[in-house]
């Protein structure tokens, strides 16, 4: 499903964020990408969501090289890839329901579709009861659930979580991971970039370790080893 072939990203002569990375992710996988800050996790995530282009190499998603996507094709690509960030990125002046609905509105969705999908996805992340609250009234964990709901509302095939638990306490963090796990069991590829050892160790899923821009190890049932 996702194939990263010989990808390098060089910002300047001295900064080589990724160096000849090769990675294959199959349908339905849950992959944790771990490594220290500055190892290249975030760069890899940015390349995967087409926010940056690699200096060399190919990134194939469903057989299509996303490096060659035109600017006009980007929005349609982004609807197929859900992204969750450490800082949630919710609109403060919109309610929970509106925040999730907004993701559909900007993509020309019909009102019926919005009415149907949004409550279902909020229910999935366990936030339907908070649908009329504003982000300021929610805890970090709840905010992250909303941001996951928003990422999922397009029914993407891939969900990328960049340090999704970075701002959360251990209990909330674990709840989010369980939610991601549940989403993964429904068939969505989940890519989790993190440096949280406890989470990775407990998950017992595939772990890709990145160091200095190269893949150091790739274990099917790994733990966090540096």
């Amino acid at each position: 499903m996702i194939e990263i072939v010989g990808v390098s990203k060089i910002y300047s002569d001295t900064i080589k964020a990724l160096d000849n990375v090769n990675l294959k992710i199959e349908k339905g996988e849950f992959v944790s990408i771990v490594g220290q800050s500055g190892a290249g996790k975030s760069t890899l995530v940015k390349l995967l969501i087409c926010e940056e282009k690699p200096t060399s190499g190919k990134i194939l998603i469903a057989g299509r090289n996303i490096v060659q996507l035109k600017l006009s094709e980007l929005p349609y690509f982004r609807r197929k890839v859900g992204v969750v960030f450490q800082d949630f990125k919710l609109l403060p002046q919109k309610t929970v329901l509106e925040n999730v609905a907004f993701a559909l509105e900007v993509c020309d969705a019909l009102p019926e579709e919005i009415k149907d999908k949004v409550p279902r996805i909020l229910d999935l992340v366990g936030m339907l009861k908070c649908k009329d609250k504003y982000p300021d009234e929610l805890s970090g964990g709840e905010k992250q659930r909303i941001s996951i709901a928003r990422a999922l509302v397009h029914s993407p095939k891939i969900l990328i979580a960049d340090e999704a638990t970075g701002n959360l306490d251990p209990i909330n963090a674990w709840e989010i991971i369980e939610l991601l796990d549940r989403i993964n069991r429904r068939g969505t590829i989940v890519i989790l970039a993190t440096h949280n050892k406890a989470i990775v160790d407990r998950l017992k899923r595939r772990v890709v370790l990145i160091k200095n821009g190269t893949i150091l190890s790739d274990k099917v049932r790994g733990g966090y080893v540096i």
Binding site: R78, V83, A103, E105, V106, R150
Partner: protein, 304 residues
């Protein structure tokens, strides 16, 4: 684009306009000022050129004849002149008529009494109007030929020429100043509006980022800002039109006093008859500036 999208985008633009109402107000006011300056310049130029044409059409060449010239000689010359293609009208003014005009113009009874019908020193003359005021010189030159000097006493062209030249100089000066003012204001206004829109975009950077993240098309991100730009232009155009009414109302006594009622009448007439045109011009300029500035400002935020 579906209706739902159009209504969503428009609503977003309107909401944003309201949410940043102080910034919006600033943009609208600057735009209003610009439109007002441009419009005043256009109205002024047109009124002045219309007034100039009117004054020009009243200017004529008068040939005064010596008393020794015979009626036959004068009438021959009148026919020759009337046949010229550049001459619009030739009118013979007899001694009696000249006296009548003199009497009408003189208010002082003692001066009036200086000239009596029995011994009338006023010369007979031909008042000649040209099709084109610029041709008056040719006509004057024609009359100044030696063959007519025995009968011609004086040609009153030089006096008029000075007035015409002065008028033309004033018109071109006003036009130049108008251009300079308008261009300066358009530039200032574009800069201020650009900055205002940039500022609103900057305050909504996060929102734009989220929109991009969830897969909003460029169009969906861009158009609300364009809607805002259109709103600036539209509101500015309405305010400018109202302000124009007030400005013209206030300026009327002044123009009456300094420029005479012809200019004032022309201005009123022009403003009323061209109201729709003026409004349309302001509308188009306002909206184009608004859209242009919005597009320019948002460009760099969509380059990822």
């Amino acid at each position: 684009m579906s209706w739902i999208t159009i209504s969503r985008i428009t609503k977003l633009g309107l909401t944003n306009f309201w949410r940043n109402r102080w910034l919006s107000l600033a943009s609208t006011l600057v735009m209003t000022l610009t439109l007002l300056i441009i419009t005043l310049f256009v109205v002024m130029t047109m009124v002045i050129s219309k007034t100039t044409t009117m004054i020009k059409s009243k200017i004529d060449v008068a040939v005064y004849f010596k008393d020794s010239a015979t009626t036959q000689e004068i009438s021959d010359l009148q026919q020759i002149i009337a046949a010229r293609p550049d001459v619009k009208e030739v009118r013979y003014i007899s001694k009696e008529e000249a006296l009548r005009v003199w009497n009408e113009r003189q208010k002082n009874q003692r001066i009036k009494e200086l000239i009596k019908p029995e011994e009338n020193p006023l010369p007979r003359s031909l008042a000649i109007k040209a099709t084109n005021p610029e041709d008056l010189k040719n006509i004057a030159d024609f009359l100044a030929q030696n063959q007519y000097s025995p009968i011609v006493h004086k040609i009153s062209y030089e006096d008029n020429k000075q007035i015409i030249d002065k008028l033309l100089a004033i018109t071109s000066f006003v036009k130049k100043m108008g251009w300079i003012f308008s261009i300066t204001f358009v530039i200032i206004s574009i800069l201020v509006i650009l900055n205002t829109i940039r500022l609103t975009i900057f305050t909504r950077k996060e929102e734009i980022e989220i929109m991009r993240l969830v897969g909003a098309s460029d169009r969906f991100i861009k158009v609300p800002f364009i809607v805002e730009g259109i709103l600036y232009g539209f509101l500015a155009c309405i305010v400018a039109t109202i302000a124009l009414w007030i400005v013209i109302g206030l300026a009327t006594p002044l123009t009456n006093r300094y420029l005479g009622s012809i200019v004032t009448e022309n201005m009123h007439h022009f403003f009323i008859s061209k109201f729709l045109l003026i409004f349309l011009m302001q509308f188009i300029v306002g909206i184009l500036v608004g859209i242009g500035c919005s597009l320019f400002s948002i460009r760099r935020y969509l380059k990822v």
